[in-house]
């Protein structure tokens, strides 16, 4: 399905994000061939630094990475961009730096080398300062404006969950002339500690990505979408087409995938694109706009929520023997064991909803 994002015509809204999986021309080309609507280069910097080893840890759901930036000098990106684009496709250059002039210079170079758009990335949570640049709306305005003034291609700005008010930064991006924003970057993390040795899984702070950050990403995209009129690219924990649609329904025009490609290979790109397009065909959806923001209509403020006097009811399913999950999980002691069933004390039940999620056989529901 064709998608217009940043004024670019993408064959689908699934974009491969900046990362080691898009580190050079060959890998970008491979991602395009796998079906990606566009590919973003690994973040390009003024001066490369040597990678630390190891730099990635994974606990089965989330990944911590210390990989910072592209290890290819910008001169050599001329060659890499030729390779990347040799089979056609859209390539967005991610650039990273600290000052307006530094970023503008990198962006003009990448425009010259054929990038279709720029993604400004000053929101990495590792290596930089405790307070990341992308949380400072005023600084961001200066940076984005300088980049926008120097290039003739669209500029997207990668936002961070760390900002205390992500809307302020998104507004600054719009005011400075950005064509879009992407949210969210990875989140500062420590993946875990070995309690026998006191060693960390990785020896320094890193960026957390993958499934566990998806709820953060969804909230960020919804927030920006409700406050700023700017195209959004949703990022964070997208593992399948459903997750991609969730982001779109919360206001994203396109999405980025990264960690899932790292863990499952480039086939995952093909899979997600295929499943996404199949779903759209089945639902007879012709344009993303038909579903974009659909869930925002159901996103209410606290005040708008009507308090219905719901309480828990159980159906006739027979409980898993010895389960007791709902009984343990009821903070209000409203559930007690019956014979292959549960007995719900309706006056004690406050309708909180926890039991619905802990029951393995979906026996419980809320009604009034």
């Amino acid at each position: 399905m064709n998608t217009i994002f940043l004024g670019l015509k993408l064959k689908n809204p699934i974009i491969v994000s900046a990362g080691p999986w898009s580190r050079d021309g060959q890998s970008i080309k491979k991602a395009i061939e796998a079906g990606a609507g566009a590919v973003i280069t690994e973040s390009i910097v003024s001066d490369v630094i040597i990678d630390v080893r190891p730099r990635i840890a994974y606990n089965g759901t989330g990944a911590q990475n210390l990989r910072l930036y592209s290890d290819i000098q910008i001169e050599d990106w001329e060659r890499e961009m030729k390779i990347a684009k040799s089979g056609g496709g859209i390539v967005i250059a991610s650039v990273s730096g600290h000052t307006p002039s530094e970023l503008a210079y990198l962006a003009t170079k990448m425009e010259f080398f054929g990038a279709d758009a720029i993604e400004i990335n000053v929101s990495n949570p590792m290596g930089e300062s405790l307070e990341i640049l992308a949380s400072d709306a005023d600084q961001m305005y200066l940076i984005i404006k300088e980049v926008v003034n120097h290039v003739n291609i669209p500029v997207m700005v990668k936002l961070s969950q760390t900002a205390s008010n992500i809307s302020r930064v998104a507004k600054a991006a719009k005011k400075a002339g950005a064509s879009g924003v992407s949210a969210i970057n990875s989140v500062r993390c420590i993946l875990g500690v070995d309690i026998e040795t006191g060693e960390l899984m990785l020896p320094t702070y890193g960026g957390y990505s993958g499934t566990p950050i998806r709820p953060l990403g969804l909230a960020a995209v919804a927030t920006v979408s409700q406050t700023v009129d700017i195209p959004i690219c949703g990022i964070g924990g997208i593992d399948n087409y459903i997750n991609a649609i969730e982001y779109i329904m919360l206001g994203a025009s396109a999405v980025q995938i990264g960690t899932t490609v790292m863990i499952n290979g480039f086939e995952r790109i093909t899979e997600i694109v295929h499943d996404f397009e199949t779903w759209e065909r089945e639902k007879k959806i012709k344009s993303i706009n038909e579903i974009k923001g659909k869930a925002l209509l159901n996103l209410k403020s606290f005040d708008e929520m009507k308090v219905e006097p719901v309480v828990c009811y159980s159906n006739k399913e027979i409980c898993v023997e010895g389960c007791n999950a709902c009984i343990k999980g009821c903070m209000y002691q409203a559930i007690s064991p019956g014979n292959g069933d549960v007995i719900i004390d309706k006056p004690l039940c406050t309708g909180c909803g926890v039991c619905l999620f802990v029951c393995p056989i979906k026996k419980l529901s809320l009604k009034w």
Binding site: S46, D47, Q73, I74, E75, H98, T99, S101, E102, Y105, E128, S129, L130, T204, Y205
Partner: protein, 341 residues
């Protein structure tokens, strides 16, 4: 063996041999292979100077540095040389020893040798001198802060802001009697560092004391002498901001000789973050200047000018990099996390 001999041997014109050397894509593959084999056989090396005259390019750039003994300059040079090497250029290194006449003479020589561009580091030249060079059509880029960056592309950091942050760090560790030990060179950066230092003190309503601002030669020895001067004051400063790591090393040496402990008795902060600052004891807290990056991007800007094929001269580009406080052990701070970010 010269190009004429090669042409005779191959039975082709001199122009054809020249094309093989310079534009091989315009020569028929068979002829090209034949000439190349003769060149290989006779071990002919094209005359480099003649090539320079012919193409108006010598594939050399000049790197003009103020003082070869200051490791800051070597980091910058390393960055610039990395780019030049990749472009297949040779760099001519000129050490001007902080002497403006020597600098002028070297630049004159570089121009006579037809270098394709000049990278100046912390130059002593005036705007008039620079414009005279630019008027000869030689691309010039400057590394470091100068007063004439409207005329010349440059890469720099904001020394005033960096010095302000360094002084703030000393204030945050509790010091109020803070001295600045600054070098005679590089002049523009030093005067900006003093301004940053004074701004931080004024903000805290700490009155500036003349005796707390000492100027010395920007060397380890200068730092040693400056520290001695501070120690001889009736009320010596409790914290010292040295405007270069070399000066800070000199201060450490002097304190060591006088059994004064850093950071317990005197806090010390340097500027530059040269490699040795991480090796001295205590490890030096300093301002990280992205030296290698400044060299890399300085050279990049120079090659942008050299390779610019358009008729219009490129705009003057002034790229400013961020400097960063590198917190280590010489200031007695308490927060370990400050050392990590």
């Amino acid at each position: 063996m010269n190009i004429r001999n090669i042409a005779e041997k191959a039975g082709v014109s001199v122009a054809t041999v020249s094309r093989v050397l310079n534009h091989p894509e315009h020569v028929a593959p068979g002829t090209k292979a034949k000439i190349e084999s003769i060149i290989a056989e006779t071990e002919y090396i094209p005359n480099w100077f003649a090539r320079g005259l012919n193409f108006n390019k010598t594939a050399t750039i000049g790197l003009v540095i103020p003082n070869i003994l200051n490791p800051e300059n070597m980091e910058i040079i390393k960055g610039a040389e990395d780019v030049a090497h990749q472009k297949d250029y040779t760099s001519l290194l000129c050490n001007v020893e902080n002497d403006v006449n020597k600098e002028k003479k070297y630049i004159d020589n570089l121009i006579k040798r037809r270098v394709d561009g000049i990278l100046l580091i912390s130059s002593l030249l005036s705007e008039k001198d620079i414009i005279a060079i630019l008027d000869q059509g030689i691309p010039v880029v400057h590394v470091g802060e100068v007063l004439w960056n409207k005329s010349v592309s440059s890469v720099s950091i904001d020394s005033k802001e960096a010095a302000y942050n360094a002084t703030r760090h000393l204030l945050e560790t509790g010091a109020t009697q803070i001295g600045i030990l600054h070098g005679t060179t590089p002049a523009v950066e030093n005067s900006r560092k003093i301004k940053g230092y004074e701004k931080a003190l004024k903000e805290e309503k700490i009155s500036l004391k003349k005796e707390y601002e000492i100027q010395v030669e920007n060397t380890i020895e200068g730092g040693y002498l400056g520290a001695r001067k501070f120690m001889d004051l009736p009320i010596p400063p409790k914290a010292i901001f040295a405007t270069s790591d070399l000066l800070a090393f000199g201060v450490m040496d002097a304190m060591n000789d006088n059994n004064i402990s850093i950071p317990k008795q005197v806090a010390l902060i340097g500027f530059g973050n040269i490699r040795m600052s991480n090796l001295v004891e205590p490890k030096l807290t300093t301002v990280e200047k992205p030296l290698h990056k400044m060299g890399v991007v300085g050279a990049r800007l120079l090659f942008d000018l050299i390779e610019d094929k358009s008729e219009q001269p490129e705009d003057v580009k002034n790229i400013q990099f961020q400097s960063k406080l590198k917190i280590r052990k010489s200031c007695g701070h308490k927060e370990r996390i400050g050392e990590m970010f």
